[in-house]
C-alpha cells in the first residue's frame, strides 16, 4: 500500500518536470495504490493532503518526490507519524536538487524523475518499521583552540553553568588576537580588550584549561564523545611555576620567537608574552642545550620554585563530552615559494603583516618603535601590498582573505602615528570595507593619514643601495610605478591553522577546497558541521575578523548550551544489525568499527558479532567489511540498495 506524493515546489520542480506524468507513471508501479501531485507538499495544506490520503487509502508506505531529504525529511516523517504511520516508512526521492534544478529539457528531466521515483518505490517496498532509541548526554563541552573565538565560546558555555574543557596547543591562550597591536575600525588596543577575557577563562570555576595540549583521538557521537587529549611535556610543573621569568633570563639557548612572528629572538625556556595565560614557562626541547648536547640545566638551578622537571612525560587524558566546539583559527599563507619576484624571503625588509604588527606593538620586540629588520633603522617609505595568496588564481588561491584591506589601512594609520613624516603606499586590487564603520575607516587612512592608494599589483621587488625598489602598475593611471621603499609589508592571505586537516578527520567533519572546516549549510547551519554535536567558531570555518569570530563563537555556544540542557537525545534507529544465525564470527566488523559498537557474543553455539545499538552511528563500514554480508544497516539493507540499482538500470 504505497502512496507517492510528487511535489511541484511552486515552479522549482514543475518548470522542468511534468509532475502529472510522474504521477501517471507512479500509478503503474508495483505496490502503488495512490499517487498525486501537490503544489507545496511541505505547506500546511500539503501535509494535510498527505495525511488525508494515508488515512483514507490506508497507506502503509510513503514516497515523497521533492527536495533533498536534508531539507524536509524530518517534516514528512513527522507528518506521516501524525497520520498514525511509523515515521520511518518514508522514502524521500530528490527530484529537485538532483533533477529539476540541474537539467533543462522537460522530457528528459521528467524521464529521470520517473526513474528516481521508481527507485524510491522499490526501496520503500523493502522498508521495515523502525523505532528510535535514546541515549544520555554527557554534560561537558570541549572547546578546541583558545583564540578569541574559543575563549568566547568557552566563557559563554561556562556562564550557562556547563563545565567546559578548553584545549590549546600552544603554551598560552589568546591566539592571533593577542599578537595584534590595535584593532580596526576603532583602534582599540587589542590586548587591552582581550586579556581581561583571558584572565576570566583562567579564573572561571566551570572552565578547565589545558595548554600545550592537542586532541588525539575521538570516539563516540553527539552527546557522548569520548576524547583523548594529549598534554605535551613542557618540562615545567604548571602548579609550581610562578611566572617569575628568571629561567628565561638565564637560559643560554636561543630559540625563534614564534609569538612575535620571529621579529625577535626568544629562549628555549620562555613565557611567550607578559600577559600570557597561564603565566607559566615552557621549554622547547628542540632548542634546549641540555637536550641537544646533554649539558646545561641552568633553569633548574635558578628556578626558585623548583618547578623544572626535565623527565616530564606527555600525559593523555580521556574525558567524555556532550559537544565539541572547534575554534582552531587560522595560519598565514607562506608567500615565499609562490612569489619568486618578491625575493623568496631573501630580503629581510620584505615582511608579512603579522610581523609588522609585532613591530608596531608596545609589547613587541622593539617596544613599539618601528625598526626595520635589516639594520634597525626607522623606515620612512613603507609599501603595503594586498592580496598575497588571496584573489590570485595563479597561485591557486581565489578567495578573499576578508581582513587584508582593513588591516592595511589600520597599519598605515598606525605607521603615521608612530612616524609622522613617514609615507605609506598601498597597492590594492579593490578596497573591500563592508563592515560597520569600515569604509569610513579605510577612507580616513587616505584623507587624514595621507596613505597613497595605488590600484594594481607589484611585479617585482629588488634591493638598491639600502632600499627596496618596488615596481608595480597603476592600473587607474595606466602607468608603471616605481617606489623606493625602506620596508615592504605583505598582506598575506589566511589559511587553516596547521594541523586543522588532521583534526577535522579525527572529528569526522568535512573541509572545503582550501582546508577550512565546512559548515553544515552555508545559509542555515553556519556554525554546525555535518557531524552532530560538533560546532564551528571563528576563522577555522573561513577567514573572518574579530567581531564575526566572536559572534560565531556565541552562536556555537548557544547550540552547545541547547544540546547539553537535555538529559537524553533521540538516537537514529538506522543502526547496524547482525543476522547471528549466519554470522561466521570473523569479527572484521568489530575491527573496522570506528565507534567500538560491535562486541563478541556467545550465541549460536560459538562466538558471533553483536551490535551495541546505542553506540552505533550507522556509518556502514561493517556492512562493507562483512564477507557474507550478514550485517546490515536498518533502513539501508543491501537488498534495498540492490533493488534501487536494479530499478535505475531497468
Amino acid at each position: 500500500m504505497i502512496g507517492v506524493f510528487v511535489c511541484q515546489c511552486g515552479t522549482n520542480i514543475a518548470a522542468t518536470v511534468s509532475t502529472d506524468r510522474v504521477v501517471q507513471a507512479a500509478k503503474s508501479m508495483l505496490g502503488v495504490v495512490h499517487a498525486e501531485s501537490i503544489q507545496y507538499t511541505c505547506s500546511d495544506p500539503g501535509q494535510r493532503a498527505i495525511i488525508d490520503a494515508i488515512q483514507q487509502k490506508g497507506l502503509t508506505r510513503v514516497v515523497m518526490a521533492g527536495c533533498s531529504p536534508r531539507m524536509h525529511e524530518i517534516t514528512f516523517r513527522r507528518a506521516i507519524g501524525r497520520a498514525g504511520m511509523n515515521p520511518f516508512m518514508l522514502e524521500m526521492v530528490n527530484i529537485r536538487e538532483q533533477c529539476s534544478w540541474i537539467h533543462s529539457g522537460i522530457d528528459e528531466t521528467t524521464e529521470k524523475a520517473i526513474d528516481l521515483v521508481r527507485k524510491g518505490v522499490a526501496r520503500v517496498r523493502r522498508q521495515k518499521p523502525l523505532q528510535p532509541g535514546s541515549s544520555p548526554v554527557a554534560r561537558r563541552a570541549l572547546v578546541i583552540g583558545a583564540g578569541v573565538a574559543g575563549i568566547q565560546a568557552a566563557l559563554d558555555i561556562a556562564d550557562a553553568g556547563i563545565p567546559v574543557t578548553l584545549v590549546e596547543k600552544s603554551p598560552t591562550i589568546g591566539g592571533n588576537m593577542a599578537r595584534l597591536d590595535k584593532t580596526f575600525p576603532t583602534l582599540d588596543c587589542s590586548s587591552c580588550i582581550l586579556t581581561p577575557r583571558m584572565v576570566e577563562v583562567k579564573q572561571h570555576e566551570n572552565i578547565k584549561l589545558m595548554v600545550n595540549s592537542e586532541v588525539e583521538k575521538v570516539r563516540g557521537y553527539i552527546g557522548n564523545f569520548e576524547i583523548d587529549i594529549r598534554k605535551k611535556a613542557s618540562c615545567v610543573i604548571e602548579e609550581k611555576c610562578t611566572g617569575c621569568l628568571i629561567c628565561q633570563e638565564k637560559c643560554p639557548s636561543k630559540a625563534p620567537d614564534d609569538f612575535n612572528a620571529c621579529a625577535g629572538e626568544s629562549k628555549a625556556i620562555s613565557i611567550p608574552f607578559p600577559q600570557a595565560v597561564p603565566l607559566v614557562a615552557s621549554l622547547r626541547k628542540e632548542y634546549c642545550r641540555l637536550f641537544i648536547s646533554g649539558k646545561c640545566s641552568v633553569c633548574q638551578k635558578v628556578c626558585p620554585a623548583d618547578a623544572i622537571d626535565y623527565g616530564q612525560e606527555d600525559t593523555v587524558v580521556t574525558e567524555k563530552f556532550g559537544a565539541v566546539v572547534v575554534a582552531t583559527g587560522f595560519g598565514l599563507y607562506d608567500w615565499k615559494q609562490s612569489y619568486p619576484t618578491y625575493g623568496m624571503g631573501m630580503y629581510p625588509d620584505v615582511i608579512n603583516a603579522l610581523k609588522y604588527e609585532r613591530l608596531l606593538s608596545a609589547s613587541g620586540p622593539t617596544g613599539g618603535h618601528i625598526e626595520r629588520p635589516s639594520d634597525g633603522k626607522e623606515p620612512r617609505d613603507i609599501v603595503f601590498i594586498s592580496c598575497i595568496g588571496s584573489r590570485d588564481e595563479s597561485v591557486g588561491r581565489p578567495q578573499c582573505c576578508s581582513i587584508g584591506c582593513m588591516y592595511m589601512a589600520k597599519q598605515a594609520i598606525l605607521t603615521k602615528e608612530h612616524i609622522p613624516d613617514s609615507q605609506s603606499y598601498i597597492f590594492y586590487i579593490d578596497v573591500r570595507a563592508a563592515g560597520k564603520g569600515y569604509d569610513e575607516f579605510a577612507r580616513r587612512a587616505q584623507t587624514d593619514f595621507g596613505a597613497i592608494y595605488i590600484r594594481g599589483r607589484v611585479g617585482k621587488i629588488y634591493p638598491r643601495g639600502g632600499k627596496l625598489v618596488v615596481m608595480g602598475t597603476d592600473t587607474l593611471a595606466g602607468d608603471q610605478v616605481e617606489i623606493e621603499a625602506d620596508l615592504v609589508v605583505l598582506a598575506t592571505g589566511l589559511t587553516p591553522a596547521e594541523g586543522a586537516g588532521g583534526l577535522a578527520r579525527r572529528l569526522n567533519i568535512s573541509t572545503d577546497g582550501q582546508g577550512f572546516m565546512a559548515e553544515g549549510h552555508p545559509k542555515l547551519k553556519p556554525v554546525e558541521t555535518n557531524t552532530g554535536g560538533v560546532f564551528l567558531a571563528g576563522a577555522c570555518q573561513g577567514p573572518k575578523d574579530i567581531p564575526a569570530s566572536v559572534a560565531q563563537a556565541g552562536a556555537a555556544a548557544a547550540k552547545v548550551i541547547g544540546l547539553l540542557s537535555r538529559e537524553e537525545i533521540e538516537t537514529s534507529p538506522m543502526v547496524a544489525e547482525v543476522n547471528q544465525l549466519k554470522c561466521t564470527g570473523c569479527f572484521k566488523c568489530r575491527d573496522v568499527c570506528p565507534y567500538g559498537a560491535i562486541e563478541n557474543q556467545d550465541a549460536m553455539g560459538g562466538q558471533v558479532a553483536h551490535v551495541i545499538a546505542s553506540l552505533c552511528q550507522g556509518c556502514g563500514l561493517c556492512n562493507v567489511a562483512c564477507p557474507p554480508g550478514v550485517i546490515s544497516l536498518k533502513g539501508y539493507t543491501d537488498n534495498q540498495l540492490i533493488a534501487e540499482v536494479v530499478e535505475v538500470l531497468r
Binding site: 578527520r505 549466519k582 561466521t584 570473523c586 563500514l621 567489511a625
Partner: protein, 309 residues
C-alpha cells in the same frame, strides 16, 4: 623426504590433538589423497610426496571446536596464517607439522597429457606414468615455479629439514598467462565471456578455497542480500565470480585450489594473481605472510591522518 620423519611427527602431535590432517596414498592411482588421522595406527598410512597438492587448511574452519594437527607445505601454512589473522582459526587449537616441499605436480595436466587416471609415481626427480617419465619440474603447478614460501611461516614441529630445498626453476613462457597478457582489453572481455560461459555453478572453487568460509551465506548463492542471480550463463557466473574474487582482495594466498578444483578449467588464477600483485604493490602486504600483519582492507582508522594505520 622420507616418511621416517613424517609418521613419528604425526604420532607425536596426535598426543595433544583430536585429529591430524594429512595425506595417504590412493592405491589405484598412486597419487596422494587427503586423510584424517585419529590414532597412531592410522598415522602409519601417512605420506608426503609431490602429488600432495591439496591445501588442507580448507578443513580448519570446519573443525573450529576441535584441536587439530595439520601437515602443511609452505604455501598451505600461509593459508593457515591468514585464517588465524582473520580470527577464523585460533592459534592455540592447531599444531602445524611443516614438511619440506620440492614443489607439487599438476596431476590434472599430467593426466590430460598421458591418460586420465594413470598411475603416477614420483621418484628420482622424475615423474613416472606407466612407462613414460618426465622431469618433475616440467609438470609442476604454476604456483610452485614462483614459490616464495618453501619455508612455512608457522611450524610447531618440522618433519624433515624445511630449509634444505632448492627452489624450482621459473615457468616456461608459452603458457596461458603470456597469451593473456598480450591480449587487448576487448580480447580479454571476449576471453572471459567464453571462459565463464562454461561455468556450471558447481561452486567447487568456493569449496576448495580455504578463505571462503562464509558457509551458506556465500554471496554467489544467497538471496539475502541478493547480489547475483543463480542462472547458469556467462554474465551471472562472471558476476558471481567477480564478487568472490573481490572478497579475496588482501586475503588470497595464491594457493591455486580454486583453479585446480574447477572441473571446466576456468583459469581463475589469472584474476587472483593480478589482484594479489596489485595488493602487494599498493599496501606491501602478502596475505598469510605474517601473523602480525594487519590485512590492508581492515586497517582503516578514522583517527589517523589519511586514515590508514
Amino acid at each position: 623426504m622420507s616418511m621416517n620423519d613424517l609418521i613419528p611427527a604425526i604420532k607425536k602431535v596426535l598426543e595433544e590433538v583430536d585429529v591430524v590432517l594429512g595425506w595417504t596414498r590412493s592405491p589405484a592411482a598412486g597419487v596422494a589423497v587427503p586423510a584424517r588421522f585419529h590414532t597412531p595406527d592410522e598415522a602409519d598410512g601417512a605420506i608426503f610426496d609431490s602429488t600432495c597438492i591439496h591445501n588442507l587448511a580448507v578443513h580448519l574452519p570446519r573443525l573450529k571446536n576441535s584441536k587439530v594437527g595439520i601437515v602443511a607445505k609452505g604455501c598451505d601454512a600461509r593459508s593457515i596464517v591468514q585464517l588465524i589473522v582473520e580470527g577464523e582459526v585460533s592459534r592455540d587449537r592447531i599444531r602445524v607439522i611443516g614438511v619440506p616441499c620440492p614443489g607439487v605436480i599438476d596431476v590434472k595436466r599430467a593426466w590430460r597429457c598421458y591418460g586420465f587416471g594413470k598411475k603416477i609415481e614420483d621418484a628420482g626427480g622424475r615423474v613416472h606414468m606407466e612407462g613414460r617419465s618426465v622431469p618433475r619440474e616440467e609438470i609442476l603447478l604454476h604456483k610452485c615455479h614462483q614459490c616464495r614460501d618453501q619455508e612455512p611461516v608457522i611450524v610447531d614441529l618440522a618433519a624433515g629439514d624445511v630449509t634444505s630445498m632448492t627452489p624450482p626453476p621459473p615457468p616456461d613462457k608459452s603458457g596461458i598467462r603470456e597469451r593473456f597478457a598480450a591480449m587487448s582489453i576487448t580480447e580479454r572481455r571476449e576471453f572471459w565471456r567464453e571462459q565463464f560461459s562454461r561455468c556450471i555453478r558447481c561452486y567447487a572453487c568456493r569449496e576448495a578455497c580455504p578463505l571462503c568460509f562464509c558457509r551458506d551465506v556465500c554471496s554467489m548463492q544467497t538471496r539475502e542480500p541478493h547480489w547475483t542471480g543463480g542462472q547458469v550463463n556467462a554474465i551471472e557466473s562472471e558476476m558471481a565470480q567477480q564478487v568472490r574474487i573481490s572478497h579475496m582482495a588482501g586475503r588470497c594466498t595464491g594457493c591455486e585450489e580454486c583453479e585446480r578444483a574447477c572441473p571446466v578449467g576456468i583459469p581463475l588464477m589469472l584474476l587472483l594473481e593480478e589482484q594479489n600483485k596489485i595488493i602487494e604493490e599498493l599496501f606491501a602486504y602478502r596475505a598469510g605472510a605474517s601473523l602480525e600483519d594487519k590485512p590492508p582492507l581492515l586497517t582503516y582508522d578514522i583517527n589517523r591522518d589519511g586514515g590508514w594505520r
